[in-house]
């Protein structure tokens, strides 16, 4: 449940930034990227869709993504995603708690987008 809320709030923050944050707006202006965050079991899952400056998000699992960040479990996802440490995702990947499916370059792009938005 914690992870569902976190993903929901993240989506809201990105939505607001896509309207009000000029740096973020510039950053996403040319991007057409679909990023899925989910757990190995599937739910909770949420798709973040960037389409040339527009942003929206949909709850639920899907196969229609450019990159999927697949967390071992919701608690791990929550603790890493809320960590202030810059290398939390890297360490999680190294420990087998995070797999990146699809184009991993977009995962880094998404992480940078979040930094700009928050």
């Amino acid at each position: 449940m914690k992870l569902s809320f976190l993903l929901f709030f993240l989506a809201q923050a990105l939505k607001i930034a896509s309207v009000t944050n000029s740096k973020f707006k510039k950053y996403i202006a040319n991007a057409s990227v679909k990023i899925l965050i989910k757990t190995e079991a599937g739910p909770p899952a949420r798709l973040f869709v960037f389409d040339k400056g527009k942003f929206h998000s949909v709850s639920g699992n899907t196969n229609d993504f450019d990159v999927a960040l697949v967390w071992k479990d919701p608690n791990t996802a929550f603790s890493v995603m809320t960590s202030k440490s810059g290398d939390a995702s890297f360490k999680a990947a190294a420990q087998g708690k995070l797999k990146v499916i699809g184009m991993s370059l977009y995962a880094q792009w998404f992480e940078d987008a979040i930094k700009l938005a928050l």
Binding site: N30, K91, A93
Partner: protein
């Protein structure tokens, strides 16, 4: 001693002083006398079908043999055709020696055949260029050309030889051949700077070493190995540095390809960069804003270029590694290496799966994996194309210096370099398999060099990663313009293997995963230059395309 022609004198110098064994050329009237001289002095000539290929092959020769590569082209269009290859060598800092014909001095400003100002055109893209006006000074000019090409940071040089001095004779005894100086003035940094670097290296917890062409040209395998193994630093070698230590070295992260580097750099607390420029290929400074940086480069102006360096060591890599190794403490970063490898493999989940899973249509990574299955690391690999460069970088591994060359992925981004590089690799290492992975777009530029391969019996194996498009451009147009507005980026399905068969080579057409390995084996058995035309998944986009697109869209 009797009389000697100017063209013969040039050949004599190349043979007797520089010990040049091979010259890449295309015949022409203005250079006839040099060609005759090369024949007289027993220098092998590889005559190509377009001068661009001659320049690229000589460039490649310099990398595979670690000695200057020589190309000889005729005046006018011979010169302009060679320009792309010269620029490529310039941006790659390769010691290419270009000998070029010229319209006669006698006919200056008369509208002579192929009269043009070649020197002013070539000056901005060479390290040194000159015209020789005196037959007696031909050896002296050649001596200067070779010295300029190889001293300090290497680079291409250009020497114009007009027919007025090539087609006349002089007394041979009156011409001195300047000796080749074998001494190397190796530049080494100040001992204080070395000590400071040692402190930084010793205190690093998560260091990463990236070596480039400067490592390759320095001929520093022994010194690099000692440095890496004493410091315990994970490393990646790129460009002409690739293979100085084998890709399967326990501290190498080359199995991660591009992803290994881009995953490791942001986490490193120290990045040691040796003989590599922080240009767009390295994404400038974006990847490691926080890390300390130690840079080793023979060119002082590179030390702070695009990124303020914590410590710069100006010098030859071989000398610098030798000095550092004596002073650094023995260290073990195996835990950091292990963490890094696990992390980049997690980021490569899809890539690793694509490599090992049969696919229909064939995924390019699977194609690379099948090629590696047949030839392993005891081979030379070249990748040429857009997305194709990425697939080659991700999957090819070699145990040999310069064993993996991503030729179109360098600064000029010059498609068409693959076949010339592969031909030079095979000439330099005739006993080893040489495989070039070509995009179907890039194949078109120099595919007539299969005629060169057949005439000179150079049995390379060219695998065409055929996505029926200029894939990188098409996929970036899909991102920028939309899939319905792609322009000039489709190529259609073409039977390139039949073209190679028509030229006298061996051809194979592959559409199914299980056909790849047998087709490669038949190509080897044929003993001929071969083209294996493999139809791959045209929908696949590489991360290189995304970076390419981001670079050109973020204004």
């Amino acid at each position: 001693m009797g009389k000697i022609y100017g063209g013969h004198l040039a050949a004599k110098y190349l043979k007797e002083i520089q010990n040049v064994k091979m010259v890449f050329t295309l015949s022409g009237g203005h250079i006839e006398n040099i060609l005759d001289g090369l024949n007289k002095y027993g220098i092998r000539t590889i005559d190509v079908r377009h001068e661009q290929a001659a320049a690229m092959m000589a460039h490649a020769w310099s990398i595979y043999k670690n000695e200057p590569g020589v190309c000889l082209v005729t005046a006018g269009p011979g010169f302009t055709n060679a320009l792309t290859g010269i620029v490529n060598a310039y941006l790659d800092s390769a010691p290419l020696v270009v000998l070029c014909g010229r319209h006669p001095i006698r006919d200056d400003l008369t509208g002579a055949l192929q009269e043009m100002n070649q020197i002013d055109m070539v000056k901005p893209v060479t390290k040194w260029c000159a015209t020789c006006y005196d037959i007696k000074r031909i050896p002296e000019y050649l001596s200067l050309a070779f010295k300029q090409a190889t001293s300090g940071r290497p680079g291409p040089v250009f020497l114009e030889l007009p027919p007025d001095i090539l087609f006349i004779q002089t007394d041979e005894e009156n011409v001195a051949l300047p000796p080749k100086r074998d001494h190397k003035t190796a530049l080494c940094p100040d001992p204080v700077a070395i000590s400071e670097a040692v402190k930084i290296i010793d205190s690093a917890k998560q260091p990463l070493f990236i070596g480039g062409s400067g490592v390759g040209f320095s001929g520093c395998k022994k010194e690099l190995e000692a440095f890496i193994e004493k410091t315990g630093m994970p490393f990646a070698l790129l460009n002409n540095g690739r293979g100085t230590l084998p890709d399967n070295h326990p501290l190498s992260i080359s199995d991660g390809g591009f992803t290994g580097i881009t995953t490791g750099l942001p986490q490193a607390d120290l990045v040691v960069l040796a003989g590599i420029r922080l240009n767009w290929v390295m994404q400038g400074t974006k990847l490691f804003p926080q890390a300390k940086v130690v840079r080793i480069d023979i060119a002082e102006h590179e030390i702070d270029r695009n990124r303020a360096t914590d410590l710069g060591l100006v010098g030859d890599c071989k000398q610098v590694f030798g000095e550092l190794t004596q002073k650094v403490k023995k260290n073990d970063h195996s835990q950091w290496l292990n963490t890094l490898q696990n992390a980049y493999k997690a980021f490569m989940t899809t890539e690793l799966e694509k490599r090992t899973t049969p696919s229909d249509p064939i995924h390019p990574l699977r194609l690379v994996d099948r090629i590696m299955e047949v030839f392993g690391t005891d081979a030379f690999y070249v990748a040429d194309g857009g997305d194709t460069c990425y697939w080659g970088l991700a999957g090819f591994q070699s145990a040999h210096p310069s064993g993996v060359q991503i030729t179109a992925g360098s600064l000029l981004g010059c498609l068409g370099t693959g076949i010339p590089f592969a031909l030079a690799a095979k000439l330099a290492h005739p006993d080893k398999p040489v495989i070039v992975l070509n995009g179907d777009g890039s194949f078109g530029f120099n595919s007539m060099e299969f005629d060169t391969a057949v005439r000179h019996n150079i049995p390379i194996i060219c695998v065409v990663n055929n996505d029926c498009a200029w894939g990188m451009i098409k996929h970036s147009q899909e991102m920028s313009l939309g899939p319905d507005r792609c322009t000039c980026s489709e190529l259609g399905l073409r039977r390139y293997e039949k073209m190679v068969e028509g030229l006298g080579g061996h051809g194979e057409y592959v559409t199914q995963d299980q056909e790849i390995v047998p087709a490669l084996q038949r190509a080897v058995a044929s003993g001929k230059p071969s083209c294996i035309n493999v139809v791959t998944d045209h929908t696949v986009t590489s991360p290189a395309t995304v970076i390419f697109y981001q670079n050109l869209s973020n204004f």
